[in-house]
Symmetry: C2
Subunit: 172 residues, 2 copies
Amino acid sequence: MKRISIDMDGVLANVYGQFLKMHAAEFGNVLTLEEMTGRPEHVAFPNVYKYVNSAGFFRTAPVIVGCQEVVRKLNDQYKIFIVSAAMEFPNSLTEKHDWLNEHFPFITWQQMVFCGSKEIIKADIMIDDHFKNLNFFTGETILFTQPHNKLADTLHHKRVDTWEEIEALLLS
Amino acid sequence: MKRISIDMDGVLANVYGQFLKMHAAEFGNVLTLEEMTGRPEHVAFPNVYKYVNSAGFFRTAPVIVGCQEVVRKLNDQYKIFIVSAAMEFPNSLTEKHDWLNEHFPFITWQQMVFCGSKEIIKADIMIDDHFKNLNFFTGETILFTQPHNKLADTLHHKRVDTWEEIEALLLS
């Protein structure tokens, strides 16, 4: 059974939804897609580090459209691991764990990985929105589109915009 | 640079010290080495699951003799990752993170991994006290002696009893 490493932030958890809401609360304006596109998160949202370190940021993140049902189906045909670089934000550890238990109750504790660098991850397929994780992975790589990576050359990665596309790619 | 996956409980953190103390507090007797040897932890300590789920269990665990200095030296010559199956005890996530920061301040967040199953780990060498982790690892395996594994056939793993032996093995 092939192993898939699935990222959380920006792939399962809609962190842009949180960024937009907190930025709007702070500055009074909702950024447009154009204002975010092609810009690293910390450039589009100057106070992003404050946001991700706020209590509740990860626990209350919305779920990205369509992922629950597709991950459930993938879980029957692949060995799924949810792999998050959570160590950068130690306050997030419990929040991320509780978020996964709420929104992905079929994912067991054996399938959760909170790490720092993802170079330690051994899998066949990696789904991620960050090049820093995909570029050093030796298996098949799927780049999940988010505003920060939207204009970038996809290199050797396969780009998908939605979970529907992942379903078509891996469950056809 | 070769990657080493180093387990926490029973390799860096002296969980037997905690088991013995809590068992003695509950039952009034300190188990002897003979009473623990060759027995799984939950057999030697019938209430071990209560202990590991107690607040402070991981945070206050003593450090295993000699490991800090050797890990510091290994950190100069290898890519070290501290890999703990922490997901089994979600309350432990923050405690383990804080424990590592206190006792191994030279280990960065990039080098910490809290997982469930260790089959997701890609490294060259794994140091662990549990066969369930070592048996499925394809690199070099080092079994760290603890009472629960002391009588077992080491299979293809190299057994070490102390961090001094690890130093001799990997830093000679």
